[in-house]
Amino acid sequence: MSFDYFITVLKPMLHGAQMTLLLFFITIIVSIPLGFLVMLAQKNSFKPLSWLAHIFVYIMRGTPLLLQLIIVCFGLPMLPGIGEHLVLDRFTAASIAFILNYAAYFAEIFRGGILAIDKGQYEAAQVLGLNKFQTTVKIVIPQMFRIALPALANESITLMKDTALIYAVAVPEILHYAQTAVNRDLNFFPLVIAGAIYLLLTAVLTLIFKLLEKKYAFE
């Protein structure tokens, strides 16, 4: 296998990696705040809102992401009456499915983070005279993020790999170009390159989260 062949195969895959990264960042940037809002809704004392948030999380976590992806891409446009207004371009549809799915997981991660905060923190804040809002913003949320960091890192790595699922709705990403090359050249090697690209991306993520954990360590 020549270096030229390597470049020929790598080029379109790097192009695909842009799609992978774009989906990754859109999902992270929207689903983390959305997940936080879903968690707040879950904990809200207004019961219907809380139930709605729980049902949302239950559905999103309880069904395969691939199924959700196919529903948003192909299922919604088939709905009688409103379907024709729900025809989205594939990438937009995929982004919506990913955002909703990941928001549910992030909501659970944040909920776990809040549960892990010692009740002494609330008591100290109360005795010092902080009100509920001040306690939430200054004491609870910063600690929640710190506690949630390892789980956020884990989920982000999963997301990086899950982006390959958009292969199923024919959005050209890394795996798409790898598979195209494999079929064209009857060569196993492009799959190795694909694997290497994912490893590189997840290595960068791991490093970033390690640095964040260090920066925000409670020491």
Binding site: E123, A124, L128, G129, L130, Q134, P142, Q143, R146
Partner: protein, 248 residues
């Protein structure tokens, strides 16, 4: 004159009656040590004074104002005003782990009292010096020893300029070799006439520093008195039994 007046306080957790008609007073500038076995109700009594526990019946009056009267609480705003006079130090320090020592000290006066930055800066340095931790101003709580954490916690409570300081077993989570440094800070406060209620297992501290010792057992105050009388000549059989177990 009494700054805290507690009368016929009652509290149950389910069927477990933890406070049975507790009544006592604390005078201004007085140091009261509350002793008793675990489960005697002493921590619950202390926590009810800062509204960390709600009582089922009885009254608590702080500086002439009713925190609770015959089991009825006023509006939350009034409760906050009354409890603002009281600071509290916890067994497990409860420092905010994501904030530096300086930020731990300044967060409450900054948010609650809107103290200016310059004033906060001066005050946090002064108070930290008082507890002997000037060099830890910018440290994170996680890097401190237990004794240092507890001294920071005391400093944090002092930042709000309380009239009364409550201590809930302040040395129980500490290694024996560092309890001394915390007790010294508490002794200094007592000498400056801070009104203090100290729930403690430190008999030596109760004996030397307290103006009065209160012994609780089974949710009741069994006996109270000046330390020298209390420790040398306890009247009640339950006090005698407790003291013989806890004084070597």
């Amino acid at each position: 004159m009494a700054i805290i007046e507690i009368s016929t306080l009652q509290k149950s957790f389910g069927s477990n009656e933890v406070l049975k008609n507790i009544s006592f007073e604390v005078n201004k500038n007085e140091v009261v040590a509350v002793i008793g076995a675990s489960g005697s109700g002493k921590s619950t009594m202390l926590r009810s004074i800062v509204h960390l526990e709600k009582v089922d019946g009885g009254s608590i009056q702080i500086d002439g104002q009713n925190l609770v009267k015959d089991g009825h609480y006023p509006k939350i705003k009034t409760i906050k005003e009354i409890t603002a006079k009281t600071g509290m130090v916890f067994q497990h320090f409860n420092l905010f782990p994501h904030l530096s020592v300086k930020e731990n000290l300044e967060i409450a006066p900054k948010l609650v009292k809107k103290t200016t930055k310059e004033e906060l800066d001066k005050r946090s340095r002064d108070i930290l010096q008082k507890v002997g931790l000037s060099d830890k101003l910018h440290a994170q709580p996680g890097s401190l020893s237990g004794g240092q954490k507890q001294r920071v916690a005391i400093a944090r409570a002092l930042m709000m300029d309380p009239d009364i300081l409550l201590f809930d077993e302040p040395t129980s989570a500490l290694d024996p070799e560092v309890t001394g440094e915390v007790l010294k800070v508490m002794r200094d406060l007592a000498e400056e006439n801070m009104t203090m209620i100290v729930v403690t297992h430190e008999m030596g501290f109760a004996r030397e520093v307290a103006d009065r010792v209160v012994f609780m057992d089974g949710g009741e105050i069994i006996e109270s008195g000046r330390p020298e009388e209390f420790f040398t000549n306890p009247q009640h059989a339950r006090t005698k039994a407790f003291l013989s177990k806890n004084l070597n």
